[in-house]
Amino acid sequence: MAAAVVVLLVGAAAGMLITLASVGSPEEAPGQDSIDVGFAQDMRVHHLQAITMAGMARDRSEDTEVRQLAFDIESTQLDQSGQLSGWLTVWGQPTLSPPDQPHMRWMAGAHTHADTSGVDLMPGMATSEELMKLRALKGTEFTVYFLQLMLRHHEGGLSMATYAADHARLGYVRNLAQKIASGQQAEVTLLTTMIKARGAQPLPG
């Protein structure tokens, strides 16, 4: 019986080594075309726009509840954006994706928003025209449009966060992706409630 257990344990140890060899050691940095790098670069760009919009609402909204939520979103995503650029620096990768590279090509296996060629504008991102409209609005109109843009922005980021939570190689990348997915999913509910409480509806899909 004892001999059988030893054989089993040796077999298990060998299996672990084979598994480690096939995915790389945890110390090995993910490469230029990896899911980990693609997620970190694209989610950083996605976050930076949310930080832009939230900063405007924190400065300009006359609605206390919205100003508080805006500060929460701005400070959270600023910290997460810093984590993403810190990882990319350690991995020897660009902290922003190269200028001629479409977004979301790292999600080629997802068969959802992006096909293998990627996209120029990620789901949920506001266009330059929409941001200009936001800057021009005042009072309740500004507050409601901010909530509508931020709701669509959160929803758009979910597919990236969920895919990375399932498929990134490094555990700390999967963890942050999972936290972003679950945190933003909860805020999607909150933002929807806040929009309706102000007599408006989410932007048409």
């Binding site: 672990m16 660009p94 902290t95």
Partner: protein, 232 residues
Amino acid sequence: MIRYPRHLAVAAACLALVGCESQQQGSPVASGSSSGTSTSTSADPGFTPTEDNQDPTKKIDGVLAIEYEGAQHVKPTERVAYDHKPPLGGAHDAVWAPCNGVVYKKAVRTENLVHSLEHGAVWLTYDPDKLDGDGVAALEKRVNGKPYTVLSPFPGQAEAVSVQSWGRQLQVAKADDKRIDQFIQATRANQYLTPEPGASCDQIDPDRFDQDNPPPFDPSDPGPGAIPVTGR
């Protein structure tokens, strides 16, 4: 009745095989990692800043490199006697121009944009008399929606297109010159060349610099009262 004993057998095997759990976790990770290899990019990693390659512009022909001291601020009523057109560093307004993928259709005040360079932005400029609409559209595509980039006309510059980051500049005749993308990859938010890595490119004060109604470019000579490029 069939499923239950099989479930028990798997549980028993896992109890005996201590490595079983980690093998199960490892398997989907491995398949996810390998599927990422289909997303190859055209970018040359040699232009990415790293600890061993802090200034990749050294590999790009025709880049001007000058070291400037940061944080020399001037008032909105003051002008700086810059040493290059467009400038690539030096004293600047206390308020930066929004530079998070912003396209300025009209030329704007230089002193604000130099502050944007200090925050890690790449500033693309063109002479409207030397670049046609297709060329301008090609530059806009590189900026629209791209954090830490900004585009504006700069009347009177020597070449059709000029690209500058803090302390670095590339001037080229055509908007499709491949060195433009190489320069952006090498310098945008480069944590070694940027005096203030991580600083914001968002609008700080619309009363001092309104993204949608920015203070205009001043083509005149800055005059004898101008602040030196090295500051006071």
